[in-house]
């Protein structure tokens, strides 16, 4: 199966502390034609968000420094202008309510680990579509 087609050079920020995981995500996203930036922790992600422009944020829930949730909150409070679609990754169980996170943090979707790379690519493609269509 082919990965969904995308228009060139959308910029994705991946915040993931697990190097092995971030490597494979970078591989898949780059292969799909995205421009990928990796942040090793929440703090780094927050700094990158303020300094550069991204189309989609893919963030792990549990990270050293700021957690994924904290990054989202910081963004909503300090940079509401970004309107950045967010994809959440979590190794946690059902105790994280997708609905709550959607309404409170404004996330687009939540991927439970282990997830397939295809699910990630589909979720990213959906987000990219959303941001590009109105323009």
């Amino acid at each position: 199966m082919n990965p969904p087609a995308v228009s060139a050079a959308h910029s994705i920020l991946v915040a993931e502390d697990n190097r092995v995981m971030s490597d494979v995500m970078r591989f898949n996203l780059q292969k799909a034609g995205y421009h990928v930036t990796i942040a090793r922790n929440g703090t780094e992600a927050w700094e990158l968000l303020q300094s550069a422009r991204f189309d989609v944020l893919v963030t792990d829930y549990q990270m050293p420094g700021l957690t994924g949730e904290e990054v989202c909150k910081a963004m909503r409070t300090h940079r509401p202008d970004l309107h950045l679609p967010i994809i959440f990754l979590s190794a946690r169980g059902l105790e994280l309510s997708v609905e709550r996170m959607k309404s409170e943090l404004g996330i687009e979707t939540l991927l439970h680990k282990p997830f397939s790379p295809r699910e990630l690519l589909e979720a990213v493609a959906k987000c990219v579509e959303k941001t590009t269509v109105p323009v």
Partner: protein
């Protein structure tokens, strides 16, 4: 009635009654006697008087005739001494007294109002004396006709009563004293007769006045009477029974005390706080543990009279709903914002009092469930952590495998690298599962040792070889210091190796490149110390106590970026403990740590 009789002893009452009735009867008898005497006296008076006059007259006449009047004066004297006679005399024809009851008048001329010649029969004459008293005088002729020689003159006491009274006054002291004396003697006799009964009655009154059936003092009597002997027997029997019953009471009292003490001991040895409150919520009993749990004085007496709410810290509200007093309730009371500050489970059950009345008492139990709560929290944390730790390598494996599957990778190097990653993640997963298994065995207490005598030097060298590649990779100086002679030890070889590899692996993991790890063994008298010292990131003093807790991982970012389950040290510590040894840690943040496993030698 009962009260009045109990006021005076029986003997005094009897005496009173006796004297009262005795005096009354004396008075009645005296009066009767007096009246009877009076009526008899009056009836017989006239008749007897005349008869007596005739008698005396004939005696005097006879005396005159026979003895020439020698005995006349004696006769008159005799007559004059009679009660009814005021005076008596014999007057001759010339009115001269031949004889008189007052002998001084003999030979003197008397009253000439009546002369013997004048009459033949007895003449009665009324005379009023100068002092106003009245007399009757009888004139009786002595002899008849020519033989007449005079006249008998008798003055009669007209008011016989006063005459009698005058006579009686002589006897008055005796008349008064005799009945009183008789009554007195009678009283003494009566009192001595009634003494026994009085004593018995006195004791019976005391018994009836006593508060409780057993609250009286019975005394035996010393009188020799049969009544006293009978009473004494009764008293002895009653006293005997009382001794038995009081023995029962004492026995049950002391047994009750013993039981009370036993319950008290049981209650005071409980780890749970127990208290009892009355209907107003005031504590009537509290055991030691209650005071200790609520950080009050363990002196239970100090808690009495206070309320349960008072014993809790000011900011803790028990939220005891009103109107719910008759239902048992159990609630958890956190003593602070965090679990570690303490959580108490407080139970309150209603108890109906002994008197079956509706006044409600409560029994309170207070249990410290802090440890239980912490354990619950830890278990939850364990599940979270375990899930996370399982999912991370699994997610990686899945991601890489699928990436390999969906992409046509032409580069064999990349394929190999992907497969290597999958392999290492699978290994990590397997190791974690292994650790989890160990920990679960540890948890269940079934982590058993298979101890064999091992050559420690060889074993330690083997361990060193196992971890050396890690050290080499980070260019860490790995310094192994073994003493020339090592004692034989009995250890579970596999677990011992795993534990030490854990310690050395941690040292390598958390020591920056070009650091130093020292693996040193020292032999003491009865133990060996295996020390792993590094120049790593160290552990903050806050986290040091939690270090060997399962799933504990430092919040230090330098730790967080490295994979780890947080089970290794918990496992190592347990292995040391099972071998009869211990694991101790010295560490300074940013300088390094030293883990020392101490094992006893055989």
């Amino acid at each position: 009635m009962q009260l009045r009789s109990s006021q005076q002893p029986l003997s005094r009452r009897l005496l009173g009654h006796y004297l009262m009735f005795g005096l009354a009867s004396i008075i009645v008898l005296s009066a009767g006697w007096w009246l009877l005497g009076q009526s008899l006296l009056r009836g017989h008076h006239e008749h007897e008087l005349l008869h007596r006059i005739d008698e005396v007259r004939s005696l005097i006449v006879a005396d005159q005739a026979d003895n020439n009047g020698v005995g006349t004066q004696a006769l008159i004297g005799l007559l004059g001494s009679e009660v009814w006679v005021a005076y008596a005399g014999v007057v001759d024809a010339n009115g001269k007294f031949l004889a008189h009851s007052k002998p001084t008048r003999i030979g003197k001329i008397g009253d000439r109002h009546c002369l013997p010649a004048d009459h033949e029969t007895v003449i009665e004459r009324q005379i009023v004396w100068k002092d106003g008293t009245r007399r009757r005088e009888y004139w009786a002729p002595l002899g008849s006709g020519k033989a007449s020689f005079g006249c008998l003159q008798i003055g009669v006491v007209d008011d016989l009563e006063s005459a009698h009274w005058n006579r009686l006054t002589n006897w008055l002291p005796f008349a008064i004293l005799a009945p009183i004396l008789t009554l007195g003697i009678g009283g003494i006799v009566l009192q001595s007769t009634a003494r026994t009964n009085a004593a018995i009655e006195g004791q019976l009154c005391a018994v009836s006045a006593g508060d409780s059936p057993s609250d009286f003092q019975l005394q035996t009597l010393t009188e020799p009477s049969p009544a006293a002997r009978g009473w004494n027997r009764l008293v002895e029997r009653a006293l005997g029974q009382r001794t038995t019953s009081s023995l029962d009471t004492k026995l049950s009292q002391s047994l009750g005390g013993l039981l009370d003490k036993r319950f008290e001991r049981i209650l005071s040895s409980l780890p749970d706080g127990v208290a009892m409150t009355d209907k107003d919520g005031h504590i009537t009993y509290a055991n030691r543990a209650l005071g200790v749990l609520l950080q009050q004085s363990p002196e239970t007496a100090a808690l009495r009279g206070r309320t349960i709410q008072e014993l809790f810290p000011r900011d803790v509200n028990l939220h005891l709903g009103t109107g719910q007093e008759s239902r048992p309730v159990v609630f958890e009371v956190p003593l602070g914002a965090t679990l570690a500050e303490g959580v108490l489970r407080v139970g309150r059950s209603p108890v109906v009092g002994d008197d079956q009345s509706s006044t409600l008492q409560h029994v309170w139990t207070v249990r410290d469930i802090t440890q239980q709560k912490l354990a619950d929290e830890m278990r939850t944390q364990f599940v979270y952590s375990a899930t996370h730790e399982l999912r991370t390598p699994l997610a990686n494996i899945k991601a890489y495998a699928e990436t390999l599957a969906i992409n046509e990778l032409t580069d064999p190097e990349m394929q190999k690298s992907f497969l290597n990653t999958i392999n290492s993640e699978a290994t990590r997963l397997a190791r974690f599962v292994e650790e989890l298994l160990n920990v679960s065995q540890m948890e269940a207490g079934s982590l058993s040792l298979y101890r064999t005598e091992v050559d420690l030097e060889r074993l330690l060298t083997e361990i060193g070889d196992k971890v050396r590649p890690q050290m080499v990779q980070k260019e860490i100086t790995f310094d192994v210091q073994l003493p020339p002679k090592l004692p034989k030890v009995l250890v579970d070889k596999d677990k011992f190796i795993a534990a030490l590899v854990n310690l050395l692996g941690n040292a390598a993991k958390y020591t920056p490149d070009n650091g130093r790890v020292t693996f040193k063994v020292t032999v003491a008298l009865k133990e060996i110390q295996i020390s792993v010292e590094d120049t790593g990131i160290g552990i903050s003093s806050d986290e040091l106590p939690k270090l060997c807790t399962k799933f504990f991982r430092s919040t230090d970012d330098r730790v967080r970026v490295l994979p780890g389950s947080g089970l290794g040290l918990a496992f190592t510590q347990e292995v040391a403990r099972l071998h009869g040894g211990k694991l101790s840690v010295h560490s300074e943040l940013n300088k390094g740590s030293e883990f020392i496993m101490t094992l006893p030698t055989a």
